[in-house]
Symmetry: C2
Subunit: 374 residues, 2 copies
Amino acid sequence: MKEVNSPFRSQGTPLEGIGGVHNFNAGPSILPKQVFEEASLAVLNYNDTGLSILEIGHRTPIFQAIMDEARALVKALMRLNNEHEVLFLHGGASTQFMQVPMNLLNEKETAAYSDTDIWGAKAIKEAKLYGNVDVVCSSKEAGYTFIPKDFAVPNDAKYFHITTNNTIYGTQWQKIPNVSIPLVADMSSDILSRQIDFNSFDLIYAGAQKNVGAAGVNLVVVNKNILGKVKRVIPTIMDYRNHIKEGSMLNTPPVFAVYVCMLTLRWLKNMGGVAAIEQLNNEKASLLYDEIDNNPLFFGTVAKEDRSKMNVCFMIKDKEHEEAFLAFAKQQNIIGIKGHRTAGGFRASLYNAAPLTSVQVLVDVMKEFSNKVG
Amino acid sequence: MKEVNSPFRSQGTPLEGIGGVHNFNAGPSILPKQVFEEASLAVLNYNDTGLSILEIGHRTPIFQAIMDEARALVKALMRLNNEHEVLFLHGGASTQFMQVPMNLLNEKETAAYSDTDIWGAKAIKEAKLYGNVDVVCSSKEAGYTFIPKDFAVPNDAKYFHITTNNTIYGTQWQKIPNVSIPLVADMSSDILSRQIDFNSFDLIYAGAQKNVGAAGVNLVVVNKNILGKVKRVIPTIMDYRNHIKEGSMLNTPPVFAVYVCMLTLRWLKNMGGVAAIEQLNNEKASLLYDEIDNNPLFFGTVAKEDRSKMNVCFMIKDKEHEEAFLAFAKQQNIIGIKGHRTAGGFRASLYNAAPLTSVQVLVDVMKEFSNKVG
């Protein structure tokens, strides 16, 4: 295996999965090894309290400190201004598909949505229950293989919704659209992976199980000024304002999932934050895309300029080799590279915690397989 | 300390909390020691897969087996018939306060609710957003110190909602009301603690963090025949039918929380199931209530016949001793016995995993304190 240089190596980043497995799962997905180690210990005995993190009341100073630190880390890592509030809510993005329009869209008003993947389409479906939806751009007809560029967002729409990274087909908005209305994003699969102006978004939501932490919690960042403008009565648990008022402790939070987020965020901060992780993410993505482009056996599936740095989708030219490649990779302890059932082919997810060395192993395996069958 | 007999002792039940702490937290609360141990290991290396349970995809056979076992265990432990479906959903009871009427109550229809604690009152508030609510009984004026007995439930109400155990004030429905309309229960704090006819309920929900497992997941048991009868369009993620259709995997579930539930349910089954745990729960409650009734320093706060076997609420006759007693108990490693801020006094939660020996320690401490100050 080629020697790889990583800014993280000297700082204790795992060189591979905890059991020697190279995990490219799309989510739930790999987290830093030290997060697994610390979380494992906390399940037995949190911070020498003699108590498991699972049996600690959420109203105790112990958990309050965890929640406070998790929220503060998000605020610092994303360089959020004071208008933006950080919440850890129950559920995943699928809950937010409903909760966003419920909080922001009146029945006769219109929201603008982009349709760049199955997840965006699901968000559109739920928004239609609360108001009108104007799908201002779509790559659906082209199999979601690119990010639309030429489109207009009406100035009188209530907000514009995008999915910044498209997990299934592997595209990503490289340039965040500049709009005059509130910008809302499902950032589940690329949050905290690259430097962008997070303050330019008025609402960001992300299921935690990719870059933030463990499944079972939603990270929501919201500009409080956009709230309180709809006429409908919002159920207590769905109103972002109630969660802000209660410091993200309106009801019993998903304690362990929030704790794992805090550990993962702390790891990211110690690693140098978003700027440093972006550098590593760029390095990992380049390594793999270069192999895809240079190896005669494989090819990428989406427009080059829109390629996702989180979910690298590719195919094998001779489809009869597909199963053989998966089996060959599995022999090398590579898991999670089968494409989503609706997209087919392969998908390697390179989230923040995926080590560069695992990508190198995958690239080596692609070369070796190509030599074997080519 | 007096020698105590427990049917569990020989079967590996912890004699005390994992770090020698006697944990009476109201929730999140104590779970079996072996659940902590197994969950801790799984966070490092699940079942020798070389992967953390936190990085395993929810669509893998590995997690599918966990979800299947968790659902089957609930079905077996509750002796559910085939009309009843078992779901593990995001959120806690506060989500169900909204989700229940959303799925069951049309705008002009009426649902009957009982008002026996702050949680029931919260459920009533949310139901009013979806239809009419007839509060058929309430103990609010009496400080929620008893369970109402003489009341009528209209036959034309869509369903009758009760909170089987009232965590804050410490009352419990000892007799489940017999009604001709669908019976719905918030069973968060006494589910699986006693033998009742679970099939007589058409919908049961329970935040997991007391008797079922870890915070961050809701156990929902629903008779599928009561669904699909409302006119409103239900958001995808809120419609129980979608979750049933997808085998409780409509979206990424709270993987770790479901896993901890599975371990806890497996423990309960190995311990002899609901019948055996009921016997232990009765023994624990008797031990503590006897002390409250016989110790001249303490007194119970609710009607004797309605006393909860899960949350034992009591007070000290001379209020000036309250803080001293809490401090004295803490010296003996007893935690979580301060009453809820709205109820005051003390509350010891005796959920399934709370060992009899911890209750004995608490009783001994009450005796000792009484001798000291009396």
